[in-house]
Symmetry: C2
């Protein structure tokens, strides 16, 4: 194990609040929970050990700064430390850890930066608790829909506002976390890929061109609930048998469209709620949630159209009414070309093989890119498994990521 691997390993477990990585039960540090806060405290300790200056903004993002002076630009890095429930120990942590590790490397090389370097530990990136993602980076980049969020609740009925105040923040001022354009020169996030493109191409890192933001549809199919035993087969308005072919259709259409598309599309019927969901009652209502992603926004839109049309054909054949509601319709985010080139150059210099790719998942960087030239560097995770206790990235891959970030920084702050 190299020195930097030892350092990364030691701080990986610290940031995960454990003595050894737990690949069985995983990690649960939900948004604005005491566990997320505890991880932020550990991050603060490590940053202080590296001599960095700590500042917490109004949305709970923690900024660790290698401060040069007030009149020089700031180069920012960062990711998050919250997790889904029973998630892995690398999603988010990898970005924070490698940014700290890069500072460590640069200090060992006695670098004297001519620009400020800031690591941002974003608050509450995962949507698992409140159904809202990237709250911290939305606040920094001025994208927080505060009014809409006030009444959002978790599964225990705790409002986001209450959780934020328990976290030690003031709901009334969280939007004050917004920073002016002049505050940063650029932003780069490192994240685990959560896919297998780097592995598949036997590369070391991925340099992201675009982030495929989703279209999300909520399909509600209403038939008529009735007794399973007393309602003849030909007198039913079963909402589940009516809508079931749509599940197959979504997959078929995505596969078919991919034959023609350069940037692939993914589409998933990921949620379902059956009412009344009782063994002796015919389903009277079925609600399906569909997630469609591609950096090709036209293709996403096309599939959403096809789904809407297919639902109409079902309505014509069956005694059901189907409502197609667009929950989310976000255009893809394209990252800064110059930052991509700089990350390529840094990788080349270190003789690491990089692949240009798109991200199917959203990250804090997509908000930051709205305001600042931004980049996203991927490192592999085994078999693409993520949001799962088995999520894993080797120390060797964490080292590679750290070195690319350090090389990039060194050039930027020269």
């Amino acid at each position: 194990m190299t020195d930097i691997q030892q350092w990364l390993n030691k701080h990986l477990v610290r940031l995960n609040l454990v003595d050894e990585m737990d690949y069985e039960n995983g990690f649960s540090r939900p948004s604005f929970s005491s566990e997320e806060k505890q991880a932020h405290e550990v991050y603060t300790e490590i940053a202080k050990e590296l001599g960095l200056h700590i500042y917490t903004d109004e949305a709970g993002n923690r900024w660790a700064t290698w401060h040069v002076d007030f009149y020089t630009p700031t180069i920012a890095l960062g990711s998050h430390l919250d997790t889904v429930y029973g998630g892995g120990g690398y999603d988010g942590v990898a970005g924070v850890l490698t940014a700290l590790g890069a500072i460590k490397l640069l200090q060992e090389h006695r670098l004297e930066p001519r620009k400020n370097i800031a690591i941002i530990c974003f608050a509450s990136e995962e949507s698992a608790r409140f159904g809202v993602s990237t709250i911290g980076s939305k606040a920094i980049s001025g994208l927080l829909p505060k009014e809409e969020l006030e009444s959002v609740v978790d599964s225990e009925g705790i409002t986001l506002k209450e959780a934020i105040e328990t976290f030690g923040l003031d709901w009334n001022t969280i939007d004050k976390a917004e920073k002016p354009q002049s505050a940063l020169e650029s932003f780069v996030e490192l994240h685990i890929e959560q896919g297998t493109q780097i592995e598949d191409q036997q590369a070391d890192v991925g340099i992201v061109r675009g982030v495929a933001c989703p279209i999300r549809l909520q399909i509600t199919c209403r038939g008529m609930a009735n007794h399973t035993g007393t309602t003849p087969m030909n007198k039913r308005a079963d909402a589940f048998t009516a809508i079931a072919p749509l599940i197959t259709y979504v997959e078929e259409q995505a596969l078919q469209m991919n034959e023609q598309l350069e940037s692939p599309l993914v589409a998933t019927v990921s949620t379902a709620a059956i009412k009344p969901n009782a063994m002796n009652v015919i389903p009277g209502e079925v609600q399906l949630g569909i997630d469609i992603r591609s950096v090709n926004d036209e293709a996403k839109h096309e599939l959403a159209e096809r789904i809407t049309h297919y639902c109409k054909t079902i309505e014509q054949k069956r005694a059901v009414a189907i409502d197609v509601h667009t929950l989310v319709h976000n255009d893809s985010v394209f990252l800064d070309n110059r930052i991509q080139q700089k990350l390529q150059k840094a990788s080349d210099k270190l003789q690491m093989k990089w692949v240009a790719m798109d991200s199917g998942a959203g990250h804090d960087v997509m908000n930051m890119a709205n305001k600042w030239p931004s980049g996203l560097l991927f490192i592999p995770c085994t078999d693409g498994i993520s949001h799962h206790p088995k999520e894993h990235t080797s120390l060797s891959d964490l080292e590679k990521g750290t070195r690319v970030i350090a090389e990039f920084l060194q050039e930027e702050v020269r």
Copy 2:
């Protein structure tokens, strides 16, 4: 409105604990709830007003007896007063109400019965709260699996044992409610049809031959949960797209089999649980509940076999493992021929058109039939709607049912 219709209407609302029938929100008197108990108290009042003797057994069934003497046989009638959540005001109530109404008619005719007549108000017929149906009649007929039931809980974590003790009973002695074969000569239940066969054939009542008890299957399809945005379409093990065609298959097969069957079969995929059921995660596990009913036990078994085979073909095509678990496998219950003939005779005498039919739903009578010669009389409910606030049976149909029961009783106790 006839006198007896007035009487039925007055006592219908009393038993439903209201002043007027509520067709908007329906009725919620779950098993062993304070609402069920309150309905039992009202039943007791009405029975006492009719001069009947009240006795509550160890399982909470209330027996209202027109007592002649200890050495003469007892003719029993009965149904239940509990409901599903937001159910109708006739399922169960109709049987209790018309039995009381029949006593009222016989008393008006100054009948002097030579046998005892008992109306049993069964405790806890609906499975909506604890997932267990017909608890009271199971206890009377010695079919209560007490050990299995001890740890059964409702959606709020209250055990059946706790609910029963709150209801005022002693869990340790509920099985003492079992009655010897000699206790009753026969049992007849009146129930709303919860289907439309009587309506469709423009008849007045239905006389049931057999009760189609279900086969219930629990299908668990396990794939692999993964990120919806980062997992390419061709690298997925989506449990939902894998199992979805089964939903269509079950309906297709039931329709196809019915072309050949004399006693029709019904099959319903009535429940579904998706894990993790999150918008950005591919379904890793899907559990479906299937309810199959017919008085033709062979046909039920055949469909269950076909479903099991179909799941094997899915496993061969997809990266999923499918487990088919039989939750319930009950053979149909056939009712007593002599009682059917007596109910036919009573209907004929009153110039009512009766249809011989099967019941797709289970009722308390199926347990009673295990020990005593038993019958089941159906009266229509509008459009077959049941387990729903809109459930409705006209006073005219309630009167017809009351008169058939009174006529049947008069012959029996002569």
